[in-house]
Symmetry: C3
Subunit: 140 residues, 3 copies
């Protein structure tokens, strides 16, 4: 690991983990602002939207990590790293939009899905090429 390694996608991954920590903080700040003590998860619509926005990010985070690293390992580290950065922007758009209104979550969410779809498609191409090469001696 001294001079080579997937440093770019590792940097993006660490940034995404920090971003997830920040979004968890946003829920905490919303709790303080609206005086909603844990373990309560219901309250004014704005809090419930903030809470659900975070939950949705949590639900998708392992899926994101899977497609990010699959794309990086089996297709292209640079493409994966760029995709990871776009995903973070999309999640921030989604989160900020959802806090304002349920409808405003959609543009960010659609971009989120587009990134996940692209990364998983490229990763699948790489994995399929690998399987054809390793097990069927077909070189594409």
């Amino acid at each position: 690991m001294a001079s080579d390694g997937p440093f770019l996608v590792a940097a993006v991954t660490l940034m995404s983990a920090t971003h997830m920590g920040y979004l968890a903080r946003r829920v905490g700040w919303s709790r303080i602002a609206l005086k909603i003590m844990p373990p309560v998860v219901t309250g004014p619509p704005e809090f419930e939207r903030t809470f659900r926005a975070h939950q949705n990010c949590v639900e998708f985070y392992p899926i994101f990590l899977v497609v990010l690293w699959s794309c990086s390992t089996f297709f292209s580290e640079l493409v994966a790293a760029v995709g990871g950065l776009v995903y973070m922007v999309a999640r921030q758009m989604y989160f900020n939009g959802y806090v304002k209104s349920t409808k405003k979550r959609l543009p960010g969410f659609i971009l989120t899905l587009a990134v996940l779809f692209t990364l998983s498609l490229l990763a699948s191409i790489g994995v399929l090429r690998g399987i054809l090469h390793k097990y069927f001696h077909i070189h594409l």
Copy 2:
């Protein structure tokens, strides 16, 4: 990564991520069918079961990824890949059962636990063998 790599378990992992995306869609379809707008997460019993079924899948997904890749890396990629496929079937049984009734979630759930237990046991054997070899020069 050109001609060798854990392509089989990578393929199963990408399939599992797609499966998780599909289960998230199932919650969305249930919302549309029963007219439950986000961020609301309560409603008719069928919606609440569907929602909880998905949540349980989300909670276990990182655990699944850990034991899948540990088994693949430290014991056997082929065994891990087969285990991963069985896990997906088990999760689908669990989800479909839970949507029908709380009790019908159990067969799929028990199979889920059996797969996780088996994968983690085999992974632990592999890791323990590695530690004995590397740090204690004991070759099993």
Copy 3:
């Protein structure tokens, strides 16, 4: 993988996955003790605190895995493994405290954040050093 590999951090990772399974069981036992059938997630304050304690562990688990393995791969496997063990202790403190009262969750939670911050800082140092070396030929 025969004689070398990140066996220590792999062992800690498998332990953490088992620990997450145990915390999920704790919610199940709380359901049985307080007679709260799934899919219900509301009830007496003790159950709601137990449920939220587990949810918080679930939310942070992928973040933990990211910083654990980044620290192990790009900084030091031994430091990561020790950090992972401390994280498990911190999560257990957090969980046991939260079951008793909302306030008693704090010492464990602060220790949790300290471990995550330390692991991500060390991982970032390692990744940054790698990027400087690989792309800028700067050797620190």
